[in-house]
Symmetry: C2
Subunit: 348 residues, 2 copies
């Protein structure tokens, strides 16, 4: 078999992990066109478009059984979410998404009606965020369901915010609340388990609407990019929270060459998440740091903007950046100090 | 299960087919941003970029077991081909590709070394066609291997060529030769069959390099777009041959509101393909019309350009467009007339 021809050595992909593998595989990729302003390594690529504008391009693949479970993820919601997670990457560059392309591979266990439900969700997200579906590909698969979306946005060249722009002494803020999507997922997984053991018992999601909704039907923070624009404010660095606060703040710090201190008591957590974390006996800070899929925006900015940023009811200032040698640190309310780790939720 | 909630009615996807399904699912997609110049329905989407330029975006998903077979498709070649088929879509718009993003989902049967081979092929294609790999996503899959590439090109706004620009009385030309990739695939499938029945017998591909190469390692026709530019020539309509001449010429005719007449004896067929088709007892015109994966360019143009187009050693004028009511017609050397059909190679 062709794929086995280098049989001498076999390195497992798990040894690298997702980020390490991409970095390893693309280390020989060079940018040779002057229109390629930024390549691999940020939320999205940046491509010159005319003298003053840029296009911003992000792509994400969602695989059944890995990223979603159709036994509790309705297809309309899945279509909506698949769009939103890509838009979130564009907003994280301080840009406005305008187009998407959608590729879908499906096995014949899916009907046309199932595909209609998926596209209903895709088009509902397009409607809500003023996005045009401009292209795509539909293909058979032997097994399972895969959806890949590419989002294209635009911005004035000087509005783009990268991950690597944080400066020592910046404040670190985050929008919305964190950890809810992760706890929503735990609820859905538990209900699935109960249902599989006894199909008579119907899932009880009463009172869990907020957490489950954050998992199944997240929104992207277009409003914040518009607020920044109105404020004539531009963060020094920004990323969206998809892998968990810990991984994502470390992405910014590492690429910017700074360290950070986060204060656990400043983490924005919903009442619902706090109550549910207690029931599940999961520390809320674990859900916040390692949960992911919040699609909130994490950004750093110079302290002189503190008053204006604090005024926004949806922002929490959770820490500050330090010199690189100070590493990535979490301070607990009791004054203890822990190192932040970047492994994301695989280590839970 | 959520996906079954519309259980009343189940329409099989096969009832629509690939093109019908995309059309059906995207019929409610509207273009609301003025930057979206052309959406679904051509080789690529067209997006405004500055005052005079456009970006051109195409996406393609390749699924193991559907689009490729790793038992005879070396991973380097697969990576190369996955890039080339997307570039071909950009050239078919008369545009120049500059960037790609690559999403890959892989099961743990693949090693890091296997991924290195894939990316070797991807980067070799980038090198050959001056493309920058600017982004991507790497994900686990439960089973099999899926690769999705999005290509982004650019052109001056007035250079873009659509499928729908053909006019009655245009001549129809095609680059290179057709049917070879399909015959290469038949050879590989036959050798695989023999090998599976008796693993002692090693594949005998001696003398089949050209046909097998057309299948495993196709090239895209960048040279032709550059030739058009030098000639200050612009086709009225253009498409790349991915589904087979029959389907692809009908795409142009249907979208342009014209009919066509093709002359079977004008079809460009390599010596190797002719000999192999005879051995396999497949009519060469079947390989040409229904084979696909040639990644040659099919274009229509006004008759006054005939002399200049004929001069290029790699172009064949194979027919002309007619009024719409004349339908899509094939004339054989003996003067017989057959209707062309759009079903592509699924009907072989």
């Amino acid at each position: 078999m062709a794929e086995e021809s280098k049989k001498e050595k076999r390195t497992e992909i798990a040894e690298y992990g997702e980020f390490g593998l991409i970095e390893h595989l693309t280390k020989n990729a060079v940018l040779r066109n002057k229109s390629s302003i930024r390549g691999v390594g940020d939320d999205a690529a940046v491509i010159a478009a005319g003298d003053n504008d840029v296009k911003v391009v992000s792509t994400d693949m969602l695989v059944e059984g890995i990223h979603f479970d159709l036994s509790y993820h309705p297809l309309q919601h899945l279509g909506y979410k698949a769009v939103v997670v890509n838009l979130s990457d564009i907003y994280a560059m301080n840009a406005i998404p305008e187009q998407i392309t959608v590729s879908v591979a499906i096995s014949n266990r899916f009907s046309v009606e199932a595909m209609e439900m998926l596209y209903e969700g895709i088009l509902a997200a397009c409607d809500k965020y003023d996005i045009d579906l401009v292209g795509g590909d539909t293909s058979a698969s032997n097994k399972g369901f895969i959806i890949n979306i590419t989002a294209i946005g635009h911005a004035a060249k000087d509005r783009i915010v990268y991950r690597n722009g944080a400066r020592q002494g910046d404040l670190i803020a985050v929008s919305g609340d964190l950890g809810s999507a992760f706890l929503g997922l735990q609820i859905l997984e538990r209900e699935k388990q109960i249902f599989m053991e006894n199909p008579e018992i119907q899932p009880d999601l009463e009172g869990e609407k907020y957490l489950v909704g954050r998992q199944l039907l997240p929104e992207a923070r277009r409003d914040i990019i518009e607020y920044f624009e109105d404020l004539k404010f531009k963060p020094n660095a920004m990323i969206d929270i998809s892998d968990g606060l810990s991984s994502d703040v470390i992405h910014i710090c590492r690429q910017s060459g700074v360290g950070c201190v986060l204060y656990e008591e400043k983490f924005p957590v919903s009442e619902e998440a706090r109550a549910r974390a207690m029931k599940f006996n999961i520390p809320t800070s674990t859900a916040v740091l390692n949960g992911g899929e919040d699609y909130e925006l994490l950004f750093t900015f110079p302290p002189e903007w503190k008053d204006k940023i604090e005024k926004h009811p949806d922002f929490s200032i959770i820490g500050y950046t330090t010199k690189a040698s100070a590493a990535y640190t979490l301070k607990t309310p009791s004054g203890q100090v822990h190192p932040l780790e970047a492994q994301g939720w695989k280590h839970l």
